[in-house]
């Protein structure tokens, strides 16, 4: 089941997935930034599909941090999409998964959420909120047989990051996709960095003392 805003693009993705081996693909057109009547929509989905086994929450945009600083309306729309909408969707899904006592709940976080940096902290704040919520859901749901997994990609070469100069730390979208599939098949809960070398990097960034962090603008 694919959920998104643009029906024709969803249809193209669906056609592609069918040839790649998906036995059944259905498209649901919905703007996930609208959080109204999330509950009835979810009820309808659940009865139509008779429950879901795995959900990957991957919506998001990469905002212009400078613009967020001066244009509060823009910042509001950014946070609504990257934080509010994701968090509420995850909460609604969590209730469903808890009731069926099985399934996998996956969400895309980011290394940007591990520590706010001047260049990217609005996006980072939204991803930090998501990671915190997922951590709570993990503690709540893992004992009930639901896998809760946060994937934190590093820098990934995708259309979202088209404007960035790429270096050796950049990973391909295929590599991250393979990591997501592999860890979800393993059935573990927790946090996974992709590629794995971001875990020590993120740890060092979190551990940097404030005086060094303030001076060393990376």
């Amino acid at each position: 089941m694919l959920v998104g805003r643009d029906a024709s693009r969803l249809e193209r993705i669906a056609a592609d997935l069918r040839i790649r081996g998906a036995t059944e693909v259905r498209c649901v057109v919905r703007d996930l930034s609208h959080v109204n009547d999330l509950q009835p929509w979810m009820d309808a989905l659940w009865s139509e599909w008779n429950g879901l086994d795995l959900c990957l929450v991957a919506q998001g945009t990469l905002p212009d941090t400078k613009r967020c600083e001066s244009d509060i309306d823009y910042a509001k729309s950014v946070l609504e999409l990257n934080a509010d909408a994701c968090l509420l969707l995850l909460l609604a899904l969590a209730a469903r998964f808890e009731a069926q006592a099985s399934g996998q709940l996956l969400a895309l976080g980011s290394v940007a959420g591990d520590r706010g940096r001047a260049g990217n902290y609005v996006y980072g704040a939204a991803k930090a909120a998501l990671a915190t919520l997922m951590s709570g859901l993990e503690q709540r749901l893992a004992p009930r047989g639901v896998q809760v997994l946060t994937i934190k990609p590093g820098w990934v070469d995708t259309p979202m990051t088209a404007a960035f100069r790429k270096g050796p730390l950049w990973a391909s979208a295929e590599k991250v996709a393979r990591d997501i599939v592999r860890t979800s098949l393993r059935g573990r809960s927790g946090v996974v960095y992709s590629p794995a070398f971001w875990r020590p990097i993120a740890w060092v960034v979190r551990m940097l003392p404030g005086w060094l962090f303030r001076r060393w603008r990376f």
Binding site: R12, I19, R20, G21, A163
Partner: protein
């Protein structure tokens, strides 16, 4: 965004605006300079470069559109790589009738260079199996073109200059299994090599000769003939989409291929090959995509890169012409690190600028050695010109305007279909 872009052979890096093409909205981006579509960047020379202009990067438009399991016609976007396609379609019992020596090229790139494989005599070139294309031009038109239309023929082998191909319909061929039955034999002397390749390419689906060009004397030339036919059996097709286990992409560009290493490699390879003639079962991947077993192998040539010289000589002039090529190479004392000989069949070319034509085609790789190599290439060009042959644009970085015009006789007709906003380093050098 302005980026430095290299081609496969590693010509000096050139500055480009790179535009990620997402497929929607279906109109070409506004830019100050000229445009050139780019797929995997596997072309050796400047057909995939547009210095000072823009490159439309098609790698995000790599989706399947539809597949008809009755007819075997696949519609897909042009950024899809052949290896991905094989990994998904093989399990359904279908394959590409023509594949080049690497599976990492895109469908759009294979079409724009009208690539060929080791089975040209039986299957023709890639363009012979294209049933339709969607072509987006700078005047805003998005047309579906089919074989028989002039603009279609211009776009096959059209080096990306006639517009952006957004979607392609390909006729696939039925095939189950992953194995090939390979027959290895060796021959000494250019005449023997040519006649044995001629016979083998008629009898077997795939045929190619590895030549030991460290000793290019025509009388003593050593050739290892590999011919192969598809057979049933063998399992997993997912390997087609997997990158090589050994990759040198993250290593520094050390010039490991040189005079000495080539001599050692050729001597060892020759002895091993001579020891095991006969027939055996091999995996199709290792046979058709031999060089794909080392990821980013072009980096083994160091930061100055490599150059490839690939020409085709018509049947009539091939024996004399090939002999002359060998003698010139022998005189030049330049190291040829890899040489492969194939036979092209007599099919009508699929595109106006298609390279394959009936005869023998010789591809030679050289560590880049700018000045001496250029002198050698000019002498080789003279032989090719006299023999009525052609040099392959996809591999070229030196060809003169005169040779291009003489070898590609439909250039003027083709030029009328070039999109006014499209150009490439190659086209400015030899065509426009």
């Amino acid at each position: 965004m302005s980026v430095e872009v290299r081609c496969w052979a590693g010509l000096p890096t050139a500055h480009h605006e790179r535009i990620d093409w997402s497929g929607s909205p279906a109109s070409l981006p506004e830019t100050a300079g000229s445009l050139l579509p780019r797929g995997a960047g596997r072309s050796y020379g400047d057909v995939c470069l547009n210095p000072g202009g823009s490159l439309i990067d098609t790698r995000w438009t790599d989706r399947y559109v539809a597949f008809d399991p009755e007819t075997g016609v696949l519609r897909c976007e042009s950024g899809l790589r052949l290896g991905t396609l094989l990994a998904h379609l093989r399990p359904l019992g279908w394959t590409l009738p023509v594949v080049p020596g690497t599976r990492w090229v895109t469908v759009g790139g294979a079409l724009a260079n009208d690539v060929h494989g080791k089975n040209h005599r039986h299957a023709g070139s890639f363009g012979h199996h294209v049933r339709a294309i969607h072509l987006l031009r700078s005047d805003g038109s998005l047309d579906r073109l089919a074989p028989g239309e002039d603009r279609f023929t211009a776009t096959i082998g059209g080096l990306g200059l006639t517009g952006l191909v957004t979607e392609v319909a390909l006729q696939l061929r039925r095939r189950s299994g992953m194995w090939l039955q390979e027959h290895a034999s060796h021959a000494r002397g250019l005449d023997r090599v040519l006649s044995e390749l001629d016979t083998a390419s008629a009898q077997h689906e795939y045929a190619a000769v590895w030549l030991d060009m460290t000793q290019p004397d025509p009388e003593r030339l050593f050739g290892l003939l590999l011919a192969a036919d598809p057979i049933e059996g063998g399992g997993d097709a997912s390997g087609f989409a997997r990158p090589a286990r050994i990759g040198v992409g993250r290593l520094p560009r050390l010039p490991l291929v040189g005079r000495l290493s080539t001599r050692v490699f050729n001597a060892v390879y020759r002895r091993l090959a001579a020891r095991h003639p006969g027939s055996r079962r091999v995996d199709e991947r290792s046979c058709l995509f031999t060089l794909d077993s080392i990821g980013d192998w072009n980096r083994l040539y160091g930061s100055s890169g490599l150059r490839q010289y690939q020409c085709v000589l018509p049947l009539g002039t091939a024996p004399g012409g090939m002999e002359a090529l060998c003698r010139v190479l022998s005189d030049s004392r330049v190291t040829c690190s890899l040489a492969v000989l194939k036979r092209f069949g007599d099919q009508r070319p699929a595109g106006m600028l298609s390279f394959p034509r009936e005869g023998f085609t010789l591809a030679m790789d050289f560590p880049n050695d700018e000045e001496r190599l250029l002198v050698l290439f000019r002498r080789l060009d003279a032989i090719v010109l006299e023999a009525g042959g052609a040099v392959y644009p996809a591999k070229d970085a030196h060809m003169s305007r005169e040779l291009f015009r003489a070898a590609f006789t439909r250039t003027d007709e083709f030029a009328a279909h070039v999109d006014p906003r499209f150009s490439s380093g190659f086209w400015r050098r030899v065509g426009a």
